[in-house]
């Protein structure tokens, strides 16, 4: 399964060894570890803050071939009521 992470002007894929039921919290934690460890070329952030993905959401989609694909992206709601 592929996890796509968008952060600091970059967006890249990471091969995840997880099933599709990982929670959003787990996905955020894994993404943080991937970036801290340099698991994605060009997205090495050794001192990434622990809450760097606090305001990110997880989209679970499928490719045209039916493969599950997870996207970690910033939330984008706005509103006077928030």
């Amino acid at each position: 399964m592929i996890l796509n992470i968008t952060f600091n002007g970059h967006s890249a894929d990471y091969q995840l060894g997880l099933d599709h039921d990982a929670s959003d919290t787990e996905i955020r934690r894994i993404a943080g570890e991937v970036l801290r460890s340099g698991g994605i070329r060009g997205m090495h952030v050794p001192h990434l803050a622990g809450d760097a993905f606090r305001n990110y959401v997880v989209d679970r989609l499928r490719t045209s071939g039916g493969e599950p694909r997870i996207y970690l992206r910033p939330k984008v709601p706005f509103g006077a009521g928030g």
């Binding site: 968008t6 989209d59 984008v76 709601p77 509103g79 006077a80 009521g81 928030g82």
Partner: protein
């Protein structure tokens, strides 16, 4: 019908993309909006949305969304709220009133169902100074 509207604004005030909600006080999270922001990231100068019944200020939801977008894009974007009586901007950690307003503020009010904003002379020295700074930043 009053409703919140979002515009992605490029150079020279070009409206690059827009979407709307069915709510007077919220624009729900949207994968399509994020896809547009990411696809147009090289062109976006400002991200604006309306508060059809006010306030002319950024909400807590706005604040956390702005932080998330900036961290994803790796650069600060200028954010704007268009309210019935004023348009405010946030950039570089400062919030200031935009006078004169960008041309598309009228379009955003119309698409949000707001009445036309009253025209009034602006005399606040502090806001004038910030408005001058905004003009400098746009150059």
């Amino acid at each position: 019908m009053l409703r919140e509207v979002c515009f992605l604004i490029g150079q020279d005030g070009a409206v690059l993309w827009a979407d709307t909600s069915g709510s007077v006080a919220a624009l729900a999270d949207s994968r399509a909006r994020w896809d547009a922001i990411w696809r147009l990231r090289g062109e976006i100068v400002e991200i604006a949305h309306s508060h059809p019944v006010g306030p002319a200020a950024f909400s807590a939801e706005d604040e956390s969304t702005m932080a998330a977008i900036d961290s994803a894009l790796g650069r600060p974007v200028r954010y704007i709220v268009v309210a019935p009586r004023a348009t405010v901007a946030r950039f570089g950690g400062e919030t200031f009133r935009l006078t004169p307003e960008p041309w598309w503020a009228t379009l955003m009010r119309l698409s949000s169902g707001m009445a036309r904003a009253p025209q009034h002379k602006h005399t606040d020295k502090h806001t004038d100074r910030l408005t001058d700074r905004h003009k400098e930043m746009r150059r």
